[in-house]
């Protein structure tokens, strides 16, 4: 009955052995512990030879329990379980003592660290003794992926998955796919036109038969689990029937509300109430902005159904589609449900647009203090000024233009401590675009550091200075104020130790990439974690960079943190490949860490008394009731039963059960008890 346990203590180079006496730990593990039949130490347990050692010793020593005292189980639990499995031992008889993160790295005093390590190993040895053999749970996979967000990340991921032959559903909350990349003028460090490289991808996506596109739609709820998600999608009322509409443009040409600030042009251009966001939009079919539409405004004011308002029906009247018009004021939100196997989250970022938090720069007060994305629109041939660099206030061509870097980035006082990573490069690009269009003008850039670690980036930023003549000043700007029609920029050049005052015509703030406003809520909907800045968290910063904390949900692009286009595309490809790996199997193996309600021989059948507290607390609805029947069909007892497919292994049921009739595999009562019991107290 009693297990033969092997204890393998890892030096982790010197990461552990420098502050923990590993030999002593191994020695103590054996002392007074008849269950431990083998102990050793090894330089790197996770290395190939280390794993081989583990496999060999399991076989040679006939071990049926293993404790590896090494780094955090989050690192190599999987490694060692797999190795043990290869050696024929049930992988769930392996436990990890976390000596590195919990001892050697945090307790520099060697005797102290060693004493604690001995304790930690003993705790895991005792737990291992109570480990039960578990077998992975098999679940079928729905071979369909969901991509949330139709920017460059989502498009890339969707195309990669669809090209491999799987169905993809893309949900985009705006009226068109394209995201921020469609807004950019030119891209660094090549200065190729963003739309020219973006639109072919958009078209490709629209034409791909494996991809179903829902624009103007949002995720309502995500239920289920890896391989078997149930996703509810809200198709927001577009007031336009996409099947009927041909995108003929008649409606938006007659719309009388022409002064609405265009979101696509970052408020610098105007649009109508029924509109397509930009000429290359996909789908190239309009959406009716009910907030600004005269008809809907009137209906709201009078509190009548929109169809009853007679204020303006110009778009409907002109719509040439017959007999049923493509415009429908009565359309309502529609919720559809899709079965999904894996999810790519590519919801992107939001530019810091509340620049009024920079009162010292006149943010939000002066029209000619604009953001980086606004400058992109100004410089874009499709933008509100058709590519002319003009001041928003009076259309004058700015002769002195000042770029301020790190606005909203690296500024903990304004609640944003991280570096937005792309601004150094896009500002260098802006100075070039400016110089290309305003030859006699001069660009000044206030920077703290110039960060350009990408391929060709250093050369690009130097080109801005050396060839294109931008003047870089090392210092932050303290204040921007208006003097006549000039903007006085009060900055510093720390390299000369002086205050620099520039009378500028226009100021561009290199504003930060921020998480989407609703990132937090969205993350909760998907049960994925996010960091302090509300960017979604990858499960491991180095080794699992696209995996979210929820199995089967992957991250791509700037929803995970600021990044530029090449990085975004690479990450999207990585997320797609993870999805493909998942969808390539017919069945998935899931960790058998699930709850189980005990079953015993008659006449007890189960110690469960059927109070169903467990059912009430289960977040997954995984607890069912089962009638235990006598031969004559009469019910002897009604007890709880766990649906393993739904159970996610949180253990809520086990902690709630007063009679401890339900236990969580891998963390069962005996295991926890053994851990508590094995701590050596004073």
């Amino acid at each position: 009955m009693s297990k033969k346990i092997g204890v393998f203590v890892c030096h982790c180079g010197t990461n552990i052995s420098a502050t923990v006496d590993v030999e002593k730990v191994a020695e103590e593990a054996k002392k007074n512990n008849p269950g431990v039949s083998y102990t050793t130490t090894y330089k790197y347990m996770c290395s190939d030879p280390g794993q081989k050692l583990l496999r060999d010793k399991i076989k040679e020593e006939g071990l049926d329990g293993v404790v590896v005292a090494a780094c955090s189980p989050k690192m190599h639990e999987h490694t060692f379980r797999n190795a043990s499995k290869k050696a024929g031992m049930n992988p769930y008889h392996v436990e990890i003592s976390n000596l590195r993160e919990q001892c050697s790295w945090v307790h520099p005093d060697k005797p102290t660290g060693t004493e604690k390590s001995v304790d930690l190993v003993r705790m895991m040895t005792e737990k291992t003794r109570k480990d039960k053999s578990l077998n992975p749970i098999k679940v079928p996979v729905t071979k369909r992926a969901l991509v949330i967000g139709g920017g460059i990340a989502g498009i890339q991921a969707a195309l990669d998955i669809a090209d491999a032959g799987h169905e993809v559903i893309m949900v985009e909350r705006e009226a068109s796919i394209g995201g921020h990349m469609a807004q950019l003028s030119e891209t660094f460090p090549t200065l190729d036109c963003s739309q020219c490289i973006m639109t072919p991808k958009m078209v490709e996506l629209a034409q791909n038969e494996n991809i179903t596109l829902y624009t103007w739609s949002e995720i309502e709820a995500v239920d289920g689990y890896l391989g078997n998600f149930d996703v509810k999608i809200r198709k927001k009322a577009r007031s336009v029937d996409l099947d009927l509409c041909t995108g003929c443009s008649s409606c938006w040409q007659v719309c009388p509300s022409k002064k609405i600030k265009s979101e696509f042009d970052m408020g610098l251009g105007k649009r109508t109430a029924i509109y397509i966001p930009f000429p290359q939009a996909i789908p190239s079919k309009p959406v009716l902005d009910r907030e600004h539409c005269l008809l809907f405004k009137d209906a709201r004011k009078k509190n009548i159904p929109p169809n009853d308002s007679k204020v303006c029906r110009k778009c409907l009247d002109i719509c040439p589609i017959a007999p049923v018009k493509a415009i429908d004021y009565t359309q309502e939100d529609e919720i559809i449900t899709e079965k999904i196997g894996a999810i790519v989250v590519a919801t992107g970022y939001k530019e810091l647009d509340d620049i009024s938090m920079y009162g010292e720069y006149g943010g939000g007060k002066y029209k000619d203090v604009i953001t980086g994305l606004q400058f992109e629109r100004l410089a874009s041939a499709s933008g509100p000024s058709e590519g002319e660099i003009q001041r928003p206030s009076d259309g004058k061509v700015p002769e002195i233009i000042v770029f301020i870097q790190c606005v909203g980035s690296r500024d903990p006082a304004k609640g944003c401590s991280y570096c937005s990573k792309t601004c150094c490069m896009y500002t260098a690009k802006h100075t070039m675009l400016y110089k290309h269009k305003v030859h006699h003008g001069h660009a000044y850039v206030f920077y703290i550091d110039i960060r350009c670690p990408g391929k060709g980036y250093e050369e690009f930023s130097l080109r801005a200075i050396e060839e294109e003549g931008a003047t870089y000043l090392r210092g932050r700007v303290s204040r921007v104020y208006k003097k006549g029609d000039k903007l006085v920029v009060l900055g510093a050049d720390t390299l000369t130790g002086s205050v620099v005052e520039i009378e500028a015509d226009m100021v561009v703030l290199a504003s930060a990439m921020k998480a989407q406003d609703d990132a937090e809520k969205f993350a909760q909907k998907l049960s994925i974690q996010y960091d302090k800045d509300k960017f979604f968290s990858e499960i491991h910063p180095k080794l699992k960079p696209v995996e979210s904390s929820s199995a089967g949900i992957f991250l791509a692009g700037t929803c995970q943190g600021p990044k530029d286009i090449p990085e975004t595309v690479a990450q999207a490809g990585a997320a797609a490949s993870k999805v493909l790996a998942l969808l390539s199997a017919d069945e998935l193996e899931r960790e058998p860490v699930v709850a189980k309600v005990d079953r015993l021989p008659a006449p007890i059948f189960s110690t469960c008394i059927g109070c169903f507290y467990c059912q009430r607390v289960c977040p997954y609805g995984a607890i069912e009731s089962e009638d235990i029947k006598a031969r004559d069909g009469s019910t002897i007892k009604t007890v709880a039963r766990v649906n393993e497919g739904l159970c996610q292994g949180c253990g809520l049921c086990a902690a709630t059960c007063r009679s401890k009739s339900v236990e969580l595999a891998g963390f069962n009562d005996e295991q926890v008890y053994a851990e508590i019991n094995s701590v050596e107290f004073n």
Partner: protein, 165 residues
């Protein structure tokens, strides 16, 4: 290191058992390690998937075995990997903690916290905080000194779990 040097001889070193959720606080403790943030070595961690999976029995048992203090820590409200586990846990501690207090157990001996995977610093602060607080309280002698042998039974009848603390 300076801490170790400054440590007075025979200073009481409490033993604290920490029940942590796998997703937030355990990862936060890992992060403290990755960041080489030094803290006091008095804590022994027991990892569970979720704070919602911690039965008050575990805590009772830890005290019974001789723990001087207990920490229960998991994800911040709203961040639970299992959606609502920490909320249920919070409810339990809302009644369990006053019960222990009612029985004369100092509430500083049993602390609760939310520490996310990103809060390595908070982990260090919390641990140092509870260790210092419990050291101040001294050993939980009033409990540890209680007999583990019943009045009517002789030593031989005591079961295996009655090692001397």
């Amino acid at each position: 290191m300076s801490k170790a040097e400054a440590k007075p001889e025979n200073q009481f070193e409490p033993k604290i058992i920490a029940f942590l959720c796998n997703w937030c606080t355990y990862a936060g403790a890992d992060l403290a390690g990755t960041g080489r943030k030094e803290y006091q070595a008095n804590v022994r961690i027991i990892k569970l998937p979720c704070t919602g999976g911690i039965d008050p029995l575990f805590l009772i048992k830890a005290f019974e075995r001789g723990a001087d203090g207990i920490l229960v820590s998991g994800c911040h409200p709203g961040d639970c990997h299992y959606n609502s586990g920490n909320y249920h846990a919070r409810r339990r501690w809302n009644v369990f903690r006053p019960l222990l207090e009612f029985c004369g157990i100092n509430p500083d001996r049993i602390q609760f916290s939310w520490i996310s995977a990103a809060e390595g610093g908070k982990w260090v602060e919390t641990i140092n905080g509870i260790v210092d607080a419990v050291r101040e309280l001294g050993p939980f002698e009033s409990y540890q000194k209680l007999n583990t042998i019943g009045p009517e039974t002789s030593g031989g009848a005591a079961d295996a779990s009655s090692e001397t603390g």
